[in-house]
């Protein structure tokens, strides 16, 4: 079925609230999922993955385990990005105010694709930013999200590169790097410095295509599997108060 952006965000707020998220978290998480889906990055698949895993049940604070002038390391404690990225992107932004590129590494972080809307929000502030992470079993895959900011408009793009085993030294699994700058050149220099030589991407979604995905979802609605939708409605229903004579009085009867 197709649902509107507003409809999905409002339902997801209730879903995450029913899972014990704080207000700030459920407001944010509902947008991370919805917008990732609208940009064309399978936000709902990441949500289904999160719902079936452990990253949502462990509702605990992330820890700042290392911090320098321009960088920091955060322990995400195995949580989903829906919870453990909370302030990490903002921290990278704050770091970027004192160095050319601010960087935060989040260790132990699930569904990392959901970082996208955090980056887009930074892009709306005029910040150039990106994120990278590794995954894969037989091969090492490097995922790159870039957000270019132009006149307060954020233009995200996504690339995935494949490397042979042993070809590069991949970062630890479940680690996510978020970086920010006021300068596009500084971000390019930073990427050239920390990333391996990149060949042809195995998957690439250009900014124009992502924008087109977003617009199409906005106009035609977001496609949601019926089964997932009804699962979400069931979860959301936990936040509704059962009917009673007293509750009807509370509506003015």
């Amino acid at each position: 079925m197709r649902v509107s952006r507003n409809e999905l965000i409002e339902l997801l707020k209730l879903v995450f609230e029913s899972l014990g998220f704080d207000q700030g978290d459920y407001e944010s998480a509902s947008q991370l999922v919805t917008y990732a889906e609208m940009w064309g990055l399978d936000g709902l698949e990441a949500l289904a993955d999160a719902l079936s895993g452990q990253g949502l049940q462990q509702h605990k604070a992330v820890r700042l385990i290392e911090e320098g002038q321009g960088s920091a390391v955060v322990d995400g404690r195995g949580l989903s990005s829906l919870l453990c990225l909370r302030s990490a992107a903002d921290l990278a932004y704050v770091k970027s105010l004192s160095v050319p590129v601010g960087q935060v590494a989040i260790v132990g972080c699930q569904q990392r694709i959901l970082v996208l809307q955090h980056l887009v929000n930074l892009g709306h502030r005029g910040v150039v930013c990106g994120a990278s992470w590794w995954d894969g079993v037989d091969y090492n895959f490097l995922h790159l999200l870039d957000v270019v900011s132009e006149n307060s408009d954020a233009r995200p793009s996504y690339r995935v590169y494949r490397f042979e085993p042993g070809e590069v030294e991949a970062a630890r699994a479940e680690q996510l790097f978020v970086y920010c700058s006021s300068s596009q050149q500084a971000v390019s220099d930073y990427q050239a410095q920390v990333l391996p030589a990149l060949g042809k991407p195995t998957r690439k979604i250009e900014a124009a295509e992502m924008r087109a995905n977003f617009e199409a979802s906005l106009v035609a609605g977001i496609l949601v599997e019926d089964a997932l939708w009804f699962d979400l409605i069931e979860l959301a229903a936990k936040m509704l108060v059962p009917t009673s004579i007293q509750s009807r009085l509370g509506a003015g009867d």
Binding site: S28, L64, V94, M239, L240, V241, Q246, G250, G252
Partner: protein, 580 residues
């Protein structure tokens, strides 16, 4: 709230309007404007959404015609009206079914209605009509499509509908005195937009539907069309019942008939959830008032018009039938004070500018009279205020400023949210009620915290309590982390992100957060409803309990047939009954 006492305070920095349209020094302070009791005294004014919509329809010469009118002799069936607004086309589709008198329920939890309707982008095709027929009558249970902008339903006014049909069928016009009691044939009980149930997202409407790009414009238009259809329906039934004798409604009576509306608590959380939008609406009203106070010239002609308007408001209020004792007292006081004010104004030598009148109002009159007079003053100067209708929408995005020093955030809270910090939440009465969503159509309701279950599912509408808790946490956090910035505070206290984001977004704006404890035992939800409804432009505010209200929409507004008449049709504020 004493308005005079707070006139000097002007702490905030921006209206948030593009290009800083006006000097904010002339605006009333937030502690005056955002006070809940004052919000509960607001009256519709010329920048209310219905007024703007009608001006737009007249200015842009909207063409509306009926393309299908498939009603049986008893008025059941469907109708389709096509709107041509410039290059844009929309369809209003309405379904009418039989409903037993005992099944009629105005509450949102109802499952059957006399009328269900939708506003759709473009001309409806046969397959679309089929889809609408299958889903629109189901309302919340149905599934809508992205071409739909609005979904709504309405019930007949039992008192009026049959009476008007009977009168017309016998060749008579309805009794004016009975019309004064009700003022409409049908009453809408819910109007949905903004992407609900699969309809077009507000982001799409705002960008792709120029005619309805202002907040609630599509919803208001749907009610306007409902008003038109309700008249056509009674005339149709009367003419089929008695073809030989039936007559059509006089145009004065048609104009006087509006649409009834029943509104409950659903509107209240909206005001809390959309502080930037509400702040913008208040800013538009206050900038308009400030312009009139500063630039509106008081001439003999203006005074004469003002006196006539006051007389009209008195008559309108006299014709507003309410049973709620508190509202009744307020209406009587308003009429008495306006009569007194009118007598004082006639020939008063000192009344040469609006500041003089404002000072007298603050000194001697109730909030209802003050805010009514401000609505009238704004009405007098279209050339000073009408451009503000472009600024009623807001880009709603709460934004964190993570780099700010935590000590600065603490100071900000202390200066801007002093009203919240002054509330003692340890008192049981300060936490007496809680807001929640019922499983019945997710209807927002109020519960008593110490009596009812459900407080664990409380809606997050208690801004004041959250601000105060956040402030206390910041104070203790600063003892250990004196040089902290906001982002590090949030890493230590992630549960504070939402309220910090709100505080930092709202602080630079002059208006936004309603200054009240919405959990207090004495809190009046009706004030919230009235505030929002005044921006819609409703009249005949008639509280039916502490928690819901009936009112009238589009009463006195021009008819579809008059939209392209070239006449000035913008005089339908505070409508009064035609002379019978």
């Amino acid at each position: 709230m004493n308005e005079a006492k707070s006139e000097t305070a002007q702490e905030r920095t921006t209206t948030g309007l593009p290009g800083e349209i006006d000097d904010i020094a002339d605006l009333r302070p937030a502690e005056t404007v955002m006070d809940l009791q004052r919000l509960g005294s607001l009256q519709p004014f010329r920048l209310s959404f219905m007024r703007i919509l009608v001006r737009q329809m007249v200015r842009d010469r909207w063409q509306i015609h009926c393309s299908q009118f498939e009603l049986d002799d008893l008025g059941y069936g469907f109708a389709v009206y096509v709107l041509q607004a410039g290059t844009e086309i929309y369809s209003f589709v309405v379904f009418a079914v039989y409903l037993a008198d005992g099944s009629r329920n105005d509450r949102v939890i109802a499952g059957q209605w006399d009328l269900t309707m939708a506003l759709v982008q473009g001309e409806v095709t046969d397959s679309q009509l089929q889809h609408l027929r299958a889903n629109v009558p189901l309302q919340e249970v149905g599934r809508m499509s992205p071409e739909m902008l609005v979904l709504s339903r309405a019930n007949r006014s039992k008192r009026m509908f049959d009476n008007v049909v009977d009168s017309l069928a016998t060749g008579l016009q309805p009794d004016i005195s009975r019309l004064k009691d009700v003022g409409y044939l049908c009453r809408t009980t819910a109007v949905y937009g903004s992407g609900k149930f699969g309809m077009a997202d507000w982001g799409v409407v705002q960008r792709s539907c120029r005619s309805f790009a202002r907040p609630f414009a599509a919803e208001m238009f749907t009610c306007f069309m409902l008003r038109h259809f309700s008249v056509e329906q009674v005339q149709h039934i009367a003419s089929h019942r008695a073809p030989e004798t039936a007559v059509a409604l006089d145009s004065d009576i048609r104009r006087y008939l509006g649409i009834g509306n029943a509104t409950g608590l659903g509107m209240a959380p909206f005001l809390i959830k959309h502080p930037q939008l509400i702040g913008r609406w208040m800013t538009v009203r206050e900038v308009s008032l400030a312009r009139v106070l500063a630039r509106g010239k008081v001439t003999p002609e203006i005074l004469s018009r003002l006196l006539a308007m006051i007389e009209k408001v008195i008559q309108h209020t006299r014709e507003t039938h309410v049973k709620d004792p508190a509202q009744l007292t307020r209406n009587y006081q308003l009429m008495a004070e306006l009569t007194n004010l009118s007598e004082r104004l006639i020939g008063h030598q000192d009344f040469t500018d609006w500041q003089w009148l404002k000072a007298r109002l603050i000194e001697r009159y109730s909030l209802d009279t003050i805010e009514t007079m401000y609505s009238l003053m704004i009405e007098l100067y279209p050339h000073l205020v009408d451009d503000m209708e472009e600024y009623l929408g807001a880009d709603e995005h709460l934004q964190l400023r993570p780099e700010i020093a935590l000590s600065e955030l603490k100071r900000t809270i202390e200066s801007q949210y002093d009203w919240a910090l002054s509330i003692d939440f340890r008192k049981p009465e300060s936490q007496h009620v809680f807001w929640y969503r019922s499983e019945e159509k997710m209807e927002p309701r109020l519960g008593e915290r110490y009596v009812e279950s459900g407080a664990d599912k409380e809606l997050p509408v208690q801004v004041a309590r959250s601000v105060k808790a956040c402030h206390a946490l910041i104070v203790s956090d600063l003892l250990l982390h004196a040089d902290s910035d906001v982002v590090h505070f949030l890493l230590r206290h992630p549960d504070q992100i939402s309220i910090v984001r709100r505080i930092q977004t709202m602080t630079p704006l002059i208006y936004g957060d309603i200054r009240a404890n919405l959990a207090d035992q004495d809190m009046q939800p009706m004030h919230l409803l009235r505030a929002k409804l005044s921006f819609f432009g409703v009249s005949k505010f008639d509280p039916k309990s502490r928690l819901w209200v009936r009112n009238t929409m589009f009463q006195g507004a021009p008819l579809i047939s008059e939209l392209d008449s070239g006449r000035d049709l913008d005089d339908w504020y505070f409508p009064v009954a035609p002379i019978g």
